[in-house]
Every structure is written in C-alpha cells, then in structure tokens.
C-alpha cells in the first residue's frame, strides 16, 4: 500500500470538508477500499473514516418507511428485528453478503457507492425503487446506478442514508460465486401497489438492471409459473471465467422464479 493520511470524521460536515482535500476518499467499512489500496488499484492521498459517525448508523422503520444509515454494517442490517419483520428480504440479503467478518465491517453506503456489478444491495435498491440520500440531495435508485462502478455521486458527495417504502411482497435470491459469495446472478423481486419491479445484479455487462419482460409477466400473474414463459436474452449479459452470458440468462430466470416463490 502507498502512503496515505488517515482522518477520522466525527460528523458528516467534517467528513465533507476533509474529503474535499487532495485526492481524498471516504472510508466506511473498508472491505472494498482497503483491499484495493493493498493491491494499489486505489491510491488515495487521504482517507476519511466515516464509520464512527453516529448519525450515519442504524435502521429506522416508521410506518411504511424504512431508512438505513449509510454506515450501518451488513451485520446490523441482517440482525435488525424491526427490519426483519417489515422487509425481511433486505435483512436476508444482508445476511448473505460475503462472510461474518466482512459483514461486521462492510456497510450499505459503501456497497451502494461502490456499485460493484456483482454486489447485492444495488438489486434491492433498484427493485424497491429506493432513494439514495446524500449530504447534498436525494437521488432515486433509477438514476443512481450508472454502470460498472459508476454512480450519480459527484466528487466529495457523501451517501448519508438509503430510504424505501415497505413493499407488499419481496424476496432476493442469488446464485453465489462459490469462492467469493458475490452474486454470479442475483434477482430481487418486489411487488407494491405501483406494480412489480425486478432487478438483476451480477449478470449485466453494464451493472444492475431491471428485467422488464419478467416484470410484465409478473404484473399479470405474480407466480413462478408466469416467469417460466418468459425468454431471457443473453444480449448484454456478462461472460467471464465464472459463467457464459447464456448461462447467466438462464440463472436470471431460475433466480427470479425462486425469488417469486420465496416472496409467496
């Protein structure tokens, strides 16, 4: 790892100020950034630790609205009793990220800001029509995820929380890469009064996307059988050492069926 200057912020305002210097990067759980710095894929001049800012932590369920602070760890999302009863699909998703040690450090804000094409949370946010709240504005998930590791975030902009409405039904199913546990294909299905949204991660060659044919089929008939009739094209899907685009196209369908069955 190259030399770096560490700063610990005690508030979002302080973090924003510190992050505006040099080539600074925010440091949340560090489960992506530290490994990237070790391999020199990332070489920030400064890192600004936001993991201890209390205002960025915790899960709040009030009425039908769920708000999760950006620095809330995967472990704390997975174990939150209120969330487990309001939107169990999100707690369940968090409980399958990486391994227990990664979940003790990694955070929802870091995962969303990083927008790894195989990360789990982006699928949940897109399917739930979530809002990404930053220190400057609110961005809908539809506008937030912009491709491989690309988001709508501007330089120095800090994700402060994620907000979404409780759906009628939702579930997430992933086919995890057996080595890393990242999604080789993951599908999040959410049914609300506005319709059905289906988001796919791990499969698209431009990151997370909505599967509109599956959405259309499920809007008519919310059942696994309805997904069976849909043909998922391999166009625009990823091919790599783990799986071909055709294999992933099939996984999209299988994971969607399982998610619908799980959502009940």
């Amino acid at each position: 790892m190259y030399q770096v200057n560490y700063h610990r912020a005690s508030s979002v305002e302080e973090a924003a100020k510190l992050a505006s210097q040099g080539d600074a990067r925010l440091l949340s759980g560090g489960m992506t950034l530290i490994p990237a710095m070790k391999t020199r894929l990332a070489a920030p001049s400064d890192v600004v630790d936001i993991a201890r800012i209390e205002a960025l932590k915790g899960v709040k369920v009030s009425g039908n609205t769920v708000t999760i602070g950006a620095a809330t760890t995967h472990h704390d999302v997975a174990g939150n009793a209120e969330l487990k009863s309001a939107v169990p699909a999100v707690a369940d998703l968090a409980s399958h990220i990486g391994d227990p040690h990664v979940r003790h450090r990694g955070t929802i804000g870091g995962s969303v800001a990083n927008n790894d094409p195989a990360a789990d949370y982006p699928a949940a946010l897109l399917a739930l029509g979530a809002t990404v709240v930053t220190n400057r504005r609110e961005i809908s998930a539809d506008d937030f995820f912009m491709g491989l590791f690309e988001t709508a975030l501007e330089d120095g902009e800090i994700v402060t929380s994620i907000r979404f409405e409780k759906p009628e039904k939702a579930a997430y199913q992933k086919f995890p890469n057996p080595a890393s546990r990242y999604a080789m294909t993951g599908v999040f299905v959410a049914k609300s009064k506005d319709g059905v949204r289906v988001a796919v991660t791990g499969a698209g060659d431009n990151g997370v996307f909505r599967a509109s044919e599956i959405e259309a089929a499920l809007t008519k008939d919310f059942s696994a059988a309805a997904v069976e009739g849909v043909s998922v094209s391999a166009d625009g899907l990823m091919s790599d050492i783990h799986a071909s685009a055709e294999y992933r196209a099939n996984l999209v369908k299988v994971m969607a069926k399982r998610a619908v069955a799980k959502a009940g």
Binding site: M1, V4, L27, D99, R105
Partner: protein, 165 residues
C-alpha cells in the same frame, strides 16, 4: 504517522505508526503477538481474524488506526494462563488442526460464532458461518466437530463460558 491507542488483550497499548499500517502488522510486528497469521492478504482466508470491540474482523483488511480507541482480542488473549479456552480445548480434543496455520483465525471465528448463536449451533450453520475461513489441511470436518462440541460445552456453563461472551 498517527498515534494508535487501543486495548490489546486487556492491556492498554499505544504506538506511533504509519497510517497505512494494517492492524495485523501492528499486532504482529509492533506488538510482537505472532499468533495472528497472514494467509492470503486478499481478504479471503480468515487466518488473520481477531475481535475488535467484540466482533470478528479480518485484521489484514483494516488499518491499525481505524481500530484506535477499540478493544482488540487476539488468539493470545483467549486462554486463562495455562487453562485453554473451551474452543481451544475442543480443537485439541477433536483434532481440529493439522498444520495449525488457519487455527488462530478459526478459533477467533468460532468464539465469535458461538457468541452470536446463544440458541446453539448445528452443522449446517457452522459450515455456512465458516465461509470466511479457509483451511488447506483438515477438510473442515474436525473443525466443525470441535466447534459444535465447544458450543455445547459452553452452553452447559463449562469453564470459560463467560469469557467468550
């Protein structure tokens, strides 16, 4: 350089280190506690697992200065003098190690796992929870056996049960 002050196995320690110093290097090189291992250095293997503020983390994927102000427990902090911690005793009893390289991380992961599952553990849960710990020797079978046995022994209020809490 930054000052890193933390409680390491119950003892307050403080040192000036480069900001880029990883927690595992602080523990091994600065503090001379070499029980915590570096297996992969790519955040996969779990040989470096320690507890920070009561939670298992990969110390190769965290800066020492991130842990400043925290309580850190390493494999050296588990036993009570010559008395092994129940998880250590179970690993010995059930042959949960061969070369022993992964063992400190396995044991730190196991004590954390048992603490998070006061209701008890089954084989499926133990195997799923060992996702972040790789062993090249044992085939995991005896590790799983040792963890299940330790969890039961500790639930019965065996010695050291309170320590892992």
């Amino acid at each position: 350089m930054s000052n890193v002050s933390l409680v390491l196995n119950g003892r307050s320690v403080s040192a000036e280190v480069e900001d880029r110093t990883l927690l595992v290097h602080f523990i091994r090189e600065n503090q001379g506690l070499t029980g915590t291992h570096v297996g992969c250095d790519t955040s996969q293997c779990g040989a470096c697992v320690v507890h920070v503020d009561g939670k298992a983390v990969k110390s190769c994927s965290m800066l020492a200065v991130q842990a400043s102000g925290s309580e850190v427990v390493t494999i050296e902090g588990l036993s009570d003098g010559a008395d092994l911690h129940p998880v250590q005793a179970a690993f010995r009893e059930h042959h949960g190690l061969q070369c022993g390289f992964c063992t400190p991380g396995m044991i730190m992961a196991a004590t954390d796992m048992i603490r998070r599952h006061p209701e008890g553990l089954d084989e499926k849960t133990v195997r799923a929870e060992l996702e972040g710990n790789i062993c090249r020797c044992t085939g995991y079978h005896n590790i799983v056996k040792a963890i299940l046995a330790a969890s039961e022994a500790m639930a019965k209020g065996g010695k050291g049960a309170a320590k892992a809490a």
